[in-house]
Symmetry: C2
Subunit: 231 residues, 2 copies
C-alpha cells in the first residue's frame, strides 16, 4: 500500500503525512518549488520528511510564469480580512490542479495507488480547488488521462475537518508541528498577523493545544487564551 | 471571443490555430518548454505564431523530473510499431493534464473563455489523455477548480477527425504546414521512419495533398503515392 503525500511544509499536509504513516502506508513525499516567495516552506517540508525518514521528491515548476498571485509575485499579501468569503489574492489559479496532475505523473510511473492531499473544505479560506467536488472530478480526470492508473485514488483525509479537529488529530498522531511553517510572510518566526497565522492560532486555541512554533506577536485572542491556560 | 491555443509546432495544433483564426477568435498561443529533446518544436511554434501575428506564451516546466518517456529522457524512440494499440513509450504520464491545467491558469487570469487543443481520438496513437472522455472530465475539473472560470470550455475541434481529414481542413484554411514539425527524431529534415512521420505521410497520401516538409527518406507507400501523383 503506497501513498504519495503532497507536502507543503504546513500544518495540514503534515497532519496528512502523520495519518498516512499511522495507517501503514509506504509513503513518498512530493513538494513543489513553484516560485513561492518563502524558501522556508521547502526547508520545513525537507525537515518533516527527514523526521519521518521518508523519500521526498521536489518538483520545480515556476508558477510566476502565470502570475496573478501574491504568493509568487510582488503584490503585497492582503491582511486583516480574516473571515471574508471571496477568493484571497494568495490564490495561484489552478495551483492544486497543476500540482495534482504532476503528482499523477509520479504515481503513474511509480505505481503508487493513492495521492494524499491536505486540502480541507471547512476552513478552506475560499480556494476553489480545495472543494470536495473538485477533488472527485480531479480523480476521475487522472484515471481517464493516465496509462496505468485506472484505479488511482485521491484521498483528502482532512476534507471535512475544521482546523481544530485537524490539530487534535495531528497531536494524537505525534505530528511534528514544531517543524511546520504556515505564515504567509515567511520570516524566521511566524508573523502572528496574516490570515494563515490567525487561522492556525484560532485552531490551536479551539483544540486546547499550544502551538509549538514561535511567533513575532500573538493576536489578542490567543494572548488571552495563553493567560487562561496558565491559570 | 478569445481562445488560448496550445501550440506544439506540429500539424494538429497548427490546424486548430488556423481553425480558431478562421472562426474569428482573438487567439493567444501557449507552448511548453518541457524538456523535449527537440528544440525545433519550439522553433516551429514560434514561427507559426509569427506567421499568424499572434501573441504566444512559452511556459517552462521540466517534465524530465518525472521521467519515464523517450521524448524527454535517454530511452531510444520505439520504431516500426506503426498501427500498434498499446501506449507508446513517447508518452509522458499526464502530460496533457499538466499542460491543460497550466493553460487553465492562463485562461483564468486573462479571462479567456476557450482552451483549444489539437488532440484527436481517431489517430490518437494510444495516448489516453487524448480521449473525448478525458477532455470532458478535464473541462469539468478546471471549471470546479478555478476562481473565475466557471464557464471555461475546452474545445478539441479535431477530436473526431482522421489525420487525412485534419489535413484537408488545414489545407482549406491555408495552415502553414511548411513550418510545422512532427518527427520524433527532431532533425533538420523529418526522418520519414518514426511513427509520427509515418502517420503524417499516410494522412497526406489519403488527403490527396503533398506534404511540404522535407524528409530524409520516404517510406515505400509514400514514394509510390508521389510517383502516381506525377503521372
Amino acid at each position: 500500500m503506497r501513498a504519495l503525500v503532497l507536502m507543503s511544509g504546513g500544518l495540514d499536509s503534515t497532519t496528512v503525512l502523520a495519518y498516512a504513516v499511522s495507517q501503514g502506508y509506504e509513503v513518498t513525499g512530493l513538494s513543489f518549488d513553484y516560485g513561492q516567495r518563502h524558501r522556508i516552506e521547502l526547508e520545513s517540508s525537507r525537515r518533516i520528511a527527514e523526521y519521518y525518514g521518508i523519500r521526498r521528491n521536489v518538483f520545480r515548476v515556476d508558477l510566476t510564469q502565470v502570475g496573478g498571485s501574491s504568493l509568487t509575485g510582488d503584490i503585497p499579501v492582503e491582511k486583516g480580512q480574516f473571515g471574508r468569503v471571496e477568493v484571497p489574492n494568495t490564490y495561484v489559479p489552478g495551483r492544486n490542479i497543476i500540482f495534482t496532475s504532476i503528482a499523477g505523473g509520479y504515481a503513474d510511473i511509480e505505481g503508487i495507488e493513492t495521492i494524499m492531499l491536505g486540502v480541507n473544505a471547512v476552513d478552506y479560506s475560499g480556494y476553489p480547488d480545495c472543494r470536495p467536488e473538485f477533488i472527485s472530478s480531479m480523480e476521475k480526470t487522472l484515471r481517464l488521462g493516465m496509462a496505468r492508473s485506472q484505479n488511482l485514488s485521491i484521498s483528502a483525509p482532512l476534507q471535512k475537518l475544521s482546523k481544530s479537529e485537524i490539530i487534535r488529530m495531528g497531536m494524537k498522531l505525534g505530528a511534528p508541528y514544531e517543524l511546520t511553517h504556515s505564515c504567509y510572510e515567511g520570516g524566521e518566526k511566524a508573523c502572528g498577523k496574516c490570515d494563515s497565522c490567525l487561522l492556525r492560532l484560532k485552531g490551536f486555541m479551539e483544540s486546547g493545544f499550544i502551538d509549538p512554533v514561535e511567533y513575532e506577536t500573538y493576536p489578542e485572542f490567543y494572548r488571552k487564551y495563553l493567560e487562561n491556560e496558565k491559570d
